[in-house]
Amino acid sequence: MLDLSWLLIAIPLAGAALLLTWGKESDAFGHLIATACSAASFVLGAIMFVELLGRDAGDRSVTTSLGTWIDAGHFHVDFAFTFDTLSSLFVLLITGVGTLIHVYSIGYMAHDERRRRFFAYLNLFIAAMLCLVLAADYLVLFLGWEGVGLASYLLIGFWQHKPSAAAAAKKAFVINRVGDLGMALAIMTCFAWFGTSSIAVVNDQIDTVSGTVATALGLLLLWGACGKSAQFPLQAWLLDAMEGPTPVSALIHAATMVTAGVYLVVRSHDVFDASPTARGFVIAVGLITLLAGAWIGCTKDDIKKSLAGSTMSQIGYMMLAAGLGPAGYAFAIFHLLTHGFFKANMFLGAGSVMHGMNDDVDMRRYGALRSAMPITFYTFGIGYLAIIGFPGTSGFFSKDKIIEAALAHNVWVGIGALVGAGVTAFYMTRMMLMTFFGEKRWREQVHPHESPSVMTTPLIVLAALSLFAGVMALGSWIEEWLEPATGHAVHHDPPLPIIVITLIVLLVVAAGVALAWLAYGRQQPAAEAPADSEVSFFTRAGRAELYGNAINDALVVRPVTHLTRALVWGDGKIIDGLVTGSADRIGEISGELRKPQTGFVRSYALMVLGGALVVLLGLLAVTLA
């Protein structure tokens, strides 16, 4: 069964193709086909996972090739897929969470006339994401990499009649393309130095090239990862991406696609192991994004954007862990999985809230929803506990490990991660309080109600996973499981005993919760957001997404716009001007030459005579000379 990786991808791909080409007749059941495809892929993935479990640790990697993709000159790429311990976990996450979100979307998108198309795109996304994680070659990975970018583009802009959605979709794609630039250059570097872009070969032979090349390769890969994972400095698209339907935000912009960058770093771990400089950059990027995302999350009143800030921040944690090297890879993946569960859970919960609130996203108009939508409240609450790292929940295990490893690496990095945990507790508590507690601040004609069971069932499943996914950390199972793919984890001893660190983390988290309660629990938040002039610099900067868009505009968008205008002008006036100008000059010269043509026969006759005389004199001069 293990050589069926391609089938995992083919099933949802076929679903997407079917739904996109089948006409209106399939509107009635298209969503069921899509969900079935995703579920079938999950079942197959689960069977393969079990089979992999049954193998010896050294034997848990199966690569299958479908044949040659490109073979030209010296360039050769196979359509090859690797099913190993790392990709198997991703397969389960993608298809599992993916299927749940398909189910949820059946309810969420029930009244959308283009629902069939929505499900086609979802299936396309699942296929592309699976291609990304199963690829055995960087170029095949790139195929999935851009494929998820396309699916993300299509789904963010799904409500294309909204100009904001269309603009957000384009922005996401373009910024991702900037990241892909790094990715493409990384693949070219692989080819130039290793003669292949096979992931296994490149990672095997990274020791044969100089450190500079390894660093360059690592930085290029990180560049690509930053684009896809919305890490600093390519983070600006993620908050806008919330224009997409909420299930999309849950699946693509929280649980799976945005974590592809982390996957890429972990998958290329030998490259990063070979270059401490590149790893240092990974840590820096992770840390900056972690804090920036948390900051933004604290200030947004839009529930989805606040969650998106949180996603950035949590991926920052993963990036940070991945940058720690062998000590952190397993934790990065572990946090990625638990985050996939609890963040998808919370996004779907937010969707359920919006569903009941006539698609209002402003938390200041929520309040006291816990009795109106109890299932949403409880499941969201479990997600909340998991993300702040409440003892016993999955987030507790995964985040704690990262902070420990960070402290062991460098005290300041560890403190940064610790602060992030406190801020996370603050903004998540703020979100909980503003949404589910306090007084009603609903608008008129809003009648909150619990969502249908097709939407709440996935919530319950995800809540259970958020609660119990921590078992993967029992007995260091996840580290041992990932060892064949990420190398042996070497742990450095943290500066303090682990139990002390855990207590400190809990203390910081409790402080964050308490602060949030003081600000938003004891007193009611205002129903209208205070104007920018009334709030502190911190809030203002957070609302403006730390001026990321302004910086992009000033540094890139406006210069390119001006350059474009100047070039269009120059093309017409200068380059084409030279062409048309020389044509005009020739026209003018011939105009001058036309003047002697007066039309009078006698003047022509004079010219003939004159000409004859000139010729005659010339001849005479030649003969006499």
Binding site: R594, K595, Q597, T598, G599, F600, V601, R602, L606
Partner: protein, 97 residues
Amino acid sequence: MTEYITLSTLLFSIGAVGVLVRRNAIIVFMCVELMLNATNLAFVSFARQHGNLDGQVAAFFVMVVAAAEVTIGLAIIVSIYRTRRTTSVDDANLLKA
């Protein structure tokens, strides 16, 4: 011998000036004929001088050409006169730039 050549030059010059200064197409035409005949005279004189017939042949050739030219030329003048009621060459200036 020189006299013949002088006469020929004289006739040719009269013809050339006539072509250049007269407007009446018929006169211009006659002047062209005058020039042609001046050259004929020169041809014949030189033939006599050199004692071969080449010049005579050329003179006959010119006569034939002149006859053909007269035919075409007069036809053009007649048709211009029919449409424009004039034989002035300056009025037929449609070809000007």
